[in-house]
Amino acid sequence: MKHGILVFIEHRAGAINKISYEAIAAAQDIGAKLNQPVSAVLLGANFQDLAQQVTAYKLDGVMYADNEKLAEYTPDGYADAMENVVRARDPFLVIFPHTYLVRDFAPKLSARFGKGVISDCIRAGLENGELVFSRRIFLGKIDADVVPNSDAPVFATFQSGAYRGETAEKGEGAAVETMAVEVGEIRMKPEPAFQEVKSAVDLTKAEIIVAVGRGIKGQENLQLVEKLAQILGGEVAASRPICDAGWLPIDRQIGSSGQTVAPKLYIALGISGAIQHLVGMKNASTIVAVNKDPEAPIFDIADYGIVGDIFEVIPALTEEVKKLKG
């Protein structure tokens, strides 16, 4: 019988990735709604002590799948190991955090069960007794409700911030159950992870950040933004497309693949507010958004919004601030 929920615990550099606790919270929430037991699984080579940490949570089981080929992450290794675990435990639902690592192997795993993943969910709930997942589509502009349309197991990943890690219930009881898993040939060989040379500016220290997005249209217009930042005494930052185009160096990029900041003031100019940008700045104390599209998702997290053309608003705001600063 298919039953229970299995939650995947991600770790790196010898520590559990904090987003894994959000996945536990998601699994516990869905487990409570459906009256289903929740077990966690961690993969590795001699990582028993990490698995031990997971027993601090209210779980019906903690599995540790051990194989020397799992010492480093590879999609081949992780897909093989997880396939072993899923076939042995027969869960009806497997939950993962939607991380870059999970994106890299979860679809490969699900394909072995003849299906894809219900990926990057922001919510899950019951509707007429049926489990319904919600995903954000069109770069954050629209939500979609999705139901699985196949036999168990269902694979689902949850977006960072969909559940709060602190709400994952603690408890005791489940002991670590070590499982030997078979892992086949690993075709990809990883080299050590690295960071590019330390950047010249540390945006995490800036109190005021003036960030610019694709709405700025051309590199020659950046001077408008620089002027505003200067008068406010802040730093210039950008969304990914601006750095992709080479208009600003990558160390000015805010978001999941750039820097994560929490300044006193974050002004987003011509930025739509895709999740990969929001995760890098949503903890700013005051958020201002200027966008010509009143439905732009950035407004959803803004304290102050101006619906309008940045080419009118930026010079006007620069003038007003100049006046106030006297």
């Binding site: 890299d104 990926s119 069109f138 497309p241 919004g305």
Partner: protein
């Protein structure tokens, strides 16, 4: 080196989206479209690899007649030929179904490399490439921002979170999903546009079977519920909005 690039046509990023009457999808009647952003970078990277190492670039796209625009543009930029999987707008396959259909359409091609964007800007499943690799038995890497194909196999730089990177090596054939920004995208030249007219576009009808059934079903789409009370300023007047904002930043937020 023979490279297949998977490209998808998606709604224009600046398009005002409307939801259709039965809330199953967006209203497509007067929508403008463009190529999915990261797919454009996948094409650029494949053209650069061809320039360095020789070979052929084949574009593969799925969709209604309108997706020919993506094909023509790719051929004008330098792709050699195209495969058009002709599918109705109503198909909207789930990722496993899409990968299965593509696997069927390219089964006789035997490429050295398949490249796609890392996810589409409409459904953002971020899976079609990876599932296709599994169906074809190929190794893969996702979120790739540099490709070195000068050796026997491939050496690729992957983006990890928060400014971390990692190099992976793997044998060919392989599948890579490309991150935006891998290189600067070229423009199509007039010569390219003229040459494109003579290039082959092979049309394929998708083979539907159990694998191409949808394993996840979209039951309803809707605009997200607002979570935060945003104070909207200026009511459409940029100057007034800017003045009010400066004032709020001083009196309420106490930043100026």
């Amino acid at each position: 080196m023979k490279i297949i690039v998977l490209m998808k046509q998606v709604a224009n990023k600046d398009a005002i989206l409307r939801i259709n009457k039965d809330q199953t999808w967006i209203e497509e009647s007067d929508l403008s479209y463009e190529v999915n952003e990261s797919d454009g970078y996948a094409l650029e990277e494949s053209l650069r690899l061809k320039e360095k190492h020789g070979g052929e670039v084949v574009v593969c796209t799925m969709g209604a007649a309108r997706v020919k625009a993506v094909i023509k543009d790719a051929l004008a930029r330098g792709a050699d030929r195209a495969i058009h999987i002709v599918a109705d707008d109503s198909l909207r396959p789930s990722p496993f179904a899409a990968a299965s259909i593509i696997a069927g359409a390219i089964k006789d091609e035997h490429p050295d490399l398949i490249m796609s964007g890392l996810q589409s800007d409409d459904n953002s499943y971020a899976q079609t490439g990876v599932i296709l690799a599994e169906l074809l038995g190929l190794p893969h890497a996702t979120i790739v921002i540099e490709v070195d194909a000068s050796g026997e196999g491939l050496r690729v730089k992957r983006e990890l979170e928060s400014g971390w990177y990692q190099w992976y090596t793997m044998p060919k054939p392989a599948l890579l999903t490309i991150q935006s920004g891998i290189s600067q995208i070229r423009y199509a030249t007039l010569k390219g546009i003229m040459a494109a007219k003579k290039k082959e576009i092979r049309e394929v009808t998708p083979q539907m079977d159990a694998n191409t059934a949808s394993h996840q079903k979209v039951t309803k789409i809707y605009f997200p519920q607002k979570q935060k009370q945003t104070q909207f300023l200026g009511n459409g007047d940029a100057k007034a909005g800017a003045a009010m904002l400066a004032d709020k930043l001083r009196t309420e937020a106490r930043i100026i």
